[in-house]
Symmetry: C2
Subunit: 189 residues, 2 copies
């Protein structure tokens, strides 16, 4: 934890490669080449390949958990909590597009920290679902199977990293506003 600047460079460059080709298809020599050094030199800064992936994924997962834990405690309507969750995803995905790819697609290649990651994910989804269920109870949200609503919203939010780089012109808060409209109120007039 708390990586040196050089270590952070490696992680950043590796993230970009992982996004394009996936963790397994990127070699240490690929990462080294992208940094302009030799593969063996990477080991002056990192323990092994796994450590790079672990850092990318765990730090993002913790960012999400911290974000949603804060939101759930607020004194707010459930709909407003959901809007804040949407903004949280837009914010993180905008700041770390590449890392989001690993979080979504490469988590299964974690070893030491796989169990920890999975509990973080379960906790996140549980909190999300609880907020939806509260919204149903308080008559803010339709009484549909809450898993379907959770799935539908979360799938969109998890895919943001793919679309955000294609729409660089659109600013984050406008994107969050429009997404909230679409996800919460639908597209049907």
């Amino acid at each position: 934890m708390n990586p040196t600047p050089r270590k952070l460079e490696i992680i950043t460059i590796a993230s970009a490669l992982f996004k394009d080709r996936g963790f397994s298809a990127v070699t240490m020599r690929d990462i080294a080449k992208a940094m302009g050094i030799k593969a063996a030199s990477l080991y002056n800064h990192i323990k092994n390949k796994e450590e790079i992936l672990t850092f990318i994924i765990i730090s993002l997962a913790e960012e999400f958990i911290n974000g949603i834990d804060e939101i759930k405690e607020e004194n707010n309507t459930c709909i407003d909590k959901l809007k804040k969750i949407i903004a949280l995803h837009v914010d993180i995905a905008t700041r770390n597009t590449n890392g989001m790819a690993s979080l979504n697609n490469d988590w299964m290649h974690l070893k030491d920290q796989l169990d920890y990651y999975l509990t973080l994910r379960v906790n996140y989804e549980d909190t999300f679902r609880t907020i939806i269920n509260e919204g149903i109870k308080k008559n803010e949200i339709k009484s549909i199977n809450s898993d379907i609503m959770l799935f539908s919203i979360l799938s969109t939010l998890r895919s943001l990293y793919i679309w955000i780089p294609q729409k660089e012109d659109m600013n984050s808060s406008l994107l969050a506003t429009n997404l909230s409209e679409v996800l919460l109120k639908g597209i049907n007039k």
Copy 2:
């Protein structure tokens, strides 16, 4: 094309492994072991590893293109066309959950057919967007940036393969109905 039964077995088993670990992390020896034979024996039935991935992805991509091309021609409201697209995704994802994982996550490892896949995908998204834009013009759909609506709906549909196996109890047509409600009309009461 038109694979022998044995070849189809290989593709089916490989799909399951690709879903769990991704194309690059699955070796020919893994596939062989799952079939109870040796890796070299696979080559009696398939040309190489790439051919397995290509078959999985291209046949699915063509299924989607054929499906949406039929839907767009129908004499129907745009909202009903979107409902049919949602049902199309639920149907295909239910019938080939494992293949959908490769379509979503491993398409970048295609070689010979990468360009063909990309044109299929662009065509699919263009048709989808055209239907949304017609809906806006006909006042069936809200006048929000159509890319955001497309992205939001399509992200959910593309993730179906992850959730469907977790909800085996829910039947396909009920899932499609509920999804249509959520995606088209939102969750806000």
